[in-house]
C-alpha cells in the first residue's frame, strides 16, 4: 500500500425509498429528507439526502475494503453541499477512498463523494488499521 493508492471506489444511486428506509432505521424523520413541499419551503431545491446517509455510504466503502469494521479507528466528514434527490431517477453519488498517509500500521484515508460533479463532502478522512 502506497500514498496515493485508490483503495476503493464505487457509484451509488440514492432514491427516495432509500431515504425513507434510512429515516425509519435511524430515527431521523426531518421532513426535508422526504417531503418536497417542506424542503422547498425552507429554501432547498428539493428533498435532500440525510448527510448521515452519504456518510454511511462512505462507511460502507471503507468496511467493504477493510473486511472487519474494528479496523476503522476514526471517520469524519464535513457536508459541503446537499445531495438533492429528485422523485424520478434519484441521485448518483461517486465515492472514492485514497491513501493519504501511512504511519506504521495506521493509514489515513482521504474520502471523496461527488454528486452531479459537485463535491458533497469536504475534509472527509478516516484512519484505519492496515494490519
Amino acid at each position: 500500500m502506497n500514498i496515493g493508492d485508490v483503495v476503493a471506489s464505487k457509484t451509488v444511486t440514492i432514491e427516495r425509498i432509500n431515504l425513507v428506509m434510512y429515516a425509519g432505521a435511524s430515527g431521523d424523520f426531518n421532513p426535508i429528507h422526504w417531503n418536497e413541499a417542506v424542503a422547498k419551503q425552507v429554501g432547498l431545491p428539493d428533498v435532500i439526502a440525510h448527510g448521515m446517509y452519504t456518510q454511511a455510504q462512505l462507511g460502507r466503502l471503507l468496511t467493504d475494503w477493510l473486511g472487519d469494521p474494528a479496523r476503522l479507528l476514526s471517520f469524519s466528514v464535513r457536508f459541503s453541499a446537499p445531495v438533492v434527490v429528485p422523485l424520478e431517477g434519484g441521485a448518483k453519488v461517486e465515492l472514492q477512498a485514497t491513501i493519504g498517509a501511512i504511519d506504521g500500521d495506521v493509514a489515513t484515508v482521504v474520502l471523496t463523494a461527488t454528486s452531479g460533479g459537485v463535491p458533497v463532502v469536504k475534509d472527509a478522512v478516516a484512519t484505519v488499521r492496515t494490519a
Binding site: 471503507l62 468496511t63 457536508f79
Partner: protein, 149 residues
Amino acid sequence: MALNPDFIGKRYPDTDPYLIGREKVREFATAIGDFSPVFHDVVAAAALGYSDLPAPPTFAFSLTMKAMAAAMFDPELGLNYALVVHGEQGFEYERPLVAGDEVVVKSYIADVDTRGRNEFLTTAADVVTLGGDLVVKTRSIIVSRGTAA
C-alpha cells in the same frame, strides 16, 4: 432567532440505556444498502471474533442524535428544526458497537458559533456501556441556516 451562546458547555442528562438489538443492526445495515455478511450473519461475525453482529460505523449517530435532540429541542437554545442541516460528523472508535451492548450517551454542547448568516451548534457525545467503558466518541455540527442576527 439567534442561538444562545451561554449554552456552551451545557451538559444534558445521559440518555436512557439503549440495548442494541441484532435485528436493529440488520435493519440499519439494510437501510444503508449494506449486505456484507459481517452485519447480517452471526457466523460471519463470530469468525471475526464478535459475540454478535457488529453495527456499521455510522450506526452510533442514531444513538447520539437522541442526545442531540435534547439540545435541538431545548426552547432556551432557540433552534428552528426546519432550518437545520447537518454540517459535520466525526467518530473516534474504541471498537464497533455490537448487538447485545447496552449503552448510554453522555453529551454536551461544545460550541455555538456564527459564520455569516449561519449559526453552528457543535455537540460532543460519548457512547458508553453501562459498565462505563467508552465505545465511541462523536462530534456533530449542525447548521442553522440564515438565522444569525
